[in-house]
């Protein structure tokens, strides 16, 4: 590395770097929320005041799992900020498994991949199928990327990365995870609760 390059590296203090990184992440989430809002709007545009018959127990269980996972994610972040590495890693793993359970629930049961009789609603079933799979699919994709993020952070933490002074990676992962969780807080009622169940013909 040349002399100049070295200067450039050191020029920006960690605090300044951190502030810029935070802005970057939050702007990315603002951007993402426009995409999710687009799907949300599509739900109301196409479904209006109706909704398909969905498995309410499944919806409630999935939602609870995801909310609880956010709690453990928060614990992980607090733990590393206080230097409790064991606790941090453990909470992160719990978050991971809860998130994975959510994913399996959506893909395996809501989408019927694990059901012998297949899904009750298929992707090609008019606006019901399109919007249901579109919204849960886009959200599940974000859960999946969040899970990968958690694994990366967990692995880095295991190798001794992060300290109470410097844990931006954990913070970013946590904020992202809470965001994905928050999106579901809007999607769940839009899919499962709002509107009247369409009459079967």
């Amino acid at each position: 590395m040349s002399q100049l390059a070295h200067v450039h590296q050191e020029e920006m203090s960690y605090a300044r770097r951190l502030r810029l990184n935070r802005w970057g992440l939050w702007m990315f989430l603002v951007s993402e929320s426009f995409m999710f809002a687009g799907l949300f709007a599509a739900r109301f545009y196409l479904w209006g005041n109706t909704r398909p018959e969905l498995d309410q127990t499944l919806g409630l269980v999935l939602t609870s799992i995801l909310l609880v996972s956010s709690f453990f994610m928060n614990r992980a972040e607090v733990a590393i900020s206080q230097g409790h590495r064991k606790e941090f890693l453990r909470s992160l793993l719990v978050t991971f498994f809860l998130g994975a359970a959510f994913l399996v629930g959506v893909v395996g049961f809501e989408w019927g991949l694990f059901l012998p009789e297949g899904p009750h609603i298929r992707p090609s079933d008019g606006a019901f199928g399109a919007v249901l799979y579109g919204m849960t699919g886009m959200h599940a994709f974000h859960v999946l990327t969040g899970l990968i993020f958690i694994l990366v952070v967990w692995n880095l933490g295991r190798k001794g990365g992060f300290s109470p002074e410097r844990y931006w990676g954990v913070e970013a992962c946590a904020v992202y995870w809470h965001f994905v969780d928050l999106v579901w807080v809007f999607f769940y009622p839009a899919l499962y609760l709002i509107g009247e169940v369409a009459k079967l013909h």
């Binding site: 390059a5 810029l20 545009y45 008019g126 399109a130």
Partner: protein
């Protein structure tokens, strides 16, 4: 040769080719395993979608762009490689992953000019077809493919041109050494390359919706349309990442003393632009993604097709209007992504060549913001004939006419800036004035489109084509060209040829006027958009002839431009550090700008455009940053 093979461009393209094949094989093998039909006819659509997606991954992996990030994820140190690469020829870094914002700016700019040329060439081809009624040499599908390709590639070229100006200029203007996120910056540039490759590949199969990709036609269109949708989606991703970087840089990296209202006005313009790009872009991405899902998995978002089972569960049908809402929620604000930077360049250059302060600086800055915000509320003016509700039509009409207010403010501020100034007319200034004259026709032809009653007649005619070419040339292309000429000595350290520059201007401006006005006339006389043929009885052949000839003149003028800058970059006379006597910080350092811009921190002590006063805008702090 060894050097060429090791560039990110070549490695990436090879990776993309491998990825493309891999994507095809994946789908064919998967279908084979599931016992589905593996004939090319049946498998082509999903295979192309998968190939497109995997090919973009292939490019990014093979180009080496993500290596540093992968290392960091594994916990290995990956310090930012900055500075010129060792043991490589000078051109190498421009074809490789480099984190210097000036290199990235030039990468963006050069790519945009190449795309402008290609899309322009395609326009000349289909204009030749339109010169006479009847079908001469393009069948309808080819014709439609070419107009769609022209439109979308021009849009990509504009987005890249904006990226070029922003990346090169913003760190210099705010007194920073680089953008806030140099790696993200390089990523945002490089991901455009595989995207453009996809859009080029789309030509092979073709598609017939034009640049808007409207369903239902988009759902049933030719096979090239998936590559078009995915290519645009990826360009959109680049646009979003670029916007994050621009906002963080201009808000977070400003020099000491540079309050918001002491920023160069171009930075304001880019801030407004980036707010739109950051948010609205998601919706064109979403709408295109939804059509690809509908095509691939039969998810009927946009076509009212109900299966027996869908009827049984009482599902409502899909609706093509939903697409138009999502699409225009981006694509109207997008026109401001194109023009706000250009208007910023106009505001930036006029004071320099008038030797006067920018008239009403704060108003100009706030007008950019106002245009950006109100621009979010007008998308429905593209849907007046679509069957949208009357309430929406009237609301969107009023909001549309409201946008004319901040645009008008800018216009009067420009006139006020020139008023009583000591005007000089080198090529950049000529292009600024040309831009004003052209943007004026574009702007004046807007309100008739924005008024429901008149638009019912004008919609989907060549009038609209004339309107938006005038806004894009006046609002983007002319200012962009002005910017290239203006910063050319700063970028290359050499001067362009002034006589060729003037020739370029005097060929292009009248030709553009003729082209735009004849397009509008043809439209008023009944010429429809996006159709290969027309009725000779309309009597519009003369207009078409003028449009075609003028288009060719514009193309030749642009060739002169490219020739001038390429030749001058190598052979031009050495330029002074500040040929335009500008107050802007980048003109206070030698040309070309040193690797790390400023070796001492900047301090802002005055106003950016106060040409009446002797004291400077910026001074350099006495202590060096290096110690």
């Amino acid at each position: 040769m060894v050097h060429l093979m090791s560039t990110a461009l070549v490695r990436g393209l090879l990776g993309q080719a491998v990825g493309f094949l891999l994507g095809l094989v994946l789908v064919l093998a998967g279908r084979g395993l599931l016992g589905l039909d593996t004939s090319w006819e049946a498998a082509r659509q999903p295979a192309l979608v998968s190939a497109a997606l995997v090919s973009v991954l292939g490019f990014m992996l093979a180009s080496g762009m993500v290596e540093d990030w992968l290392k960091e994820m594994r916990g290995e140190p990956a310090p930012l490689r900055h500075g010129p690469p060792e043991g490589r020829p000078g051109w190498w870094r421009y074809l490789s992953v480099d984190y210097n914002h000036k290199v990235i700016g030039i990468q963006y700019g050069a790519t945009s000019i190449i795309l402008l040329g290609l899309a322009g060439l395609v326009a000349v081809i289909f204009r030749l077809e339109l010169t006479k009624p009847g079908i001469e040499f393009l069948d309808p599908n080819r014709f439609n493919t070419l107009i769609g390709w022209h439109g979308i590639v021009m849009i990509a070229a504009i987005l890249l041109g904006v990226g070029g100006m922003a990346n090169y200029l913003i760190p210099l203007m705010v007194g920073a050494r680089d953008m806030a996120f140099p790696r993200l910056n390089a990523f945002a540039f490089w991901i455009n390359v595989p995207a453009v490759v996809l859009v080029v590949l789309a030509l092979f199969w073709g598609w017939d919706t034009g640049w808007t990709g409207y369903p239902p036609l988009g759902v049933f269109s030719l096979a090239g349309i998936d590559l078009f949708y995915i290519g645009v989606f990826v360009v959109g991703l680049s646009s979003i990442l670029g916007a994050i970087n621009i906002i963080a840089t201009s808000l977070g990296m400003r020099a000491r003393g540079m309050t918001l209202f002491r920023m160069p006005i171009f930075v304001w313009a880019m801030l407004a632009t980036s707010l739109i790009a950051l948010t609205a872009t998601q919706l064109i991405g979403l709408s295109f993604l939804m059509v690809v899902l509908e095509r691939t998995f039969g998810m009927h978002f946009f076509t009212p097709i109900l299966t027996e089972h869908a009827k049984a569960i009482g599902s409502p049908p899909g609706n093509p209007l939903l697409f138009q809402h999502l699409f225009w929620f981006y694509s109207h604000p997008a026109v401001y992504i194109f023009v706000l930077p250009g208007l910023g360049i106009i505001s930036e250059l006029l004071p320099v060549f008038s030797r006067k302060p920018l008239f009403g600086y704060k108003w100009v800055a706030m007008a950019s913001m106002a245009i950006a915000l109100v621009g979010f509320l007008v998308w429905g003016h593209h849907m007046f004939t679509s069957g949208m509700s009357d309430i929406m039509r009237v609301t969107m009409m009023w909001t549309t006419l409201l946008v004319a207010v901040p645009t008008g403010i800018k216009f009067f501020n420009w006139l006020g800036t020139m008023w009583g100034g000591k005007l000089t007319f080198p090529t950049p200034m000529l292009f600024v004035l040309g831009a004003l004259s052209i943007f004026l026709i574009g702007g004046l032809s807007g309100p008739p489109n924005g008024t429901v009653t008149t638009d019912l007649f004008l919609h989907d005619t060549y009038w609209i084509v004339g309107h938006f070419h005038a806004t894009m040339f006046g609002g983007f292309l002319f200012p962009y060209i002005a910017a290239v000429y203006y910063w050319f000595p700063k970028v290359t350290g050499r001067m362009y040829n002034e006589r060729l520059g003037k020739l370029h201007f005097w060929l292009m401006t009248p030709a553009f006027w003729a082209m735009s006005l004849s397009q509008m006339m043809a439209g008023l006389w009944g010429m429809r958009r996006r159709i290969v043929d027309y009725d000779p009885a309309l009597g519009i052949e003369p207009f078409h002839l003028v449009t075609t000839v003028a288009g060719i003149v514009i193309f030749i003028a642009m060739l002169i431009f490219v020739g001038n800058i390429v030749w001058s970059a190598v052979k031009g006379p050495v330029a002074e550090a500040n040929p335009w006597k500008s107050r802007s910080p980048e003109f206070q350092v030698p040309s070309p700008v040193p690797e790390f811009n400023y070796d001492r921190p900047l301090v802002v002590v005055g106003d950016p455009y106060d040409y009446a006063r002797p004291e400077p805008y910026v001074v350099f702090a006495s202590s060096s940053a290096a110690d």
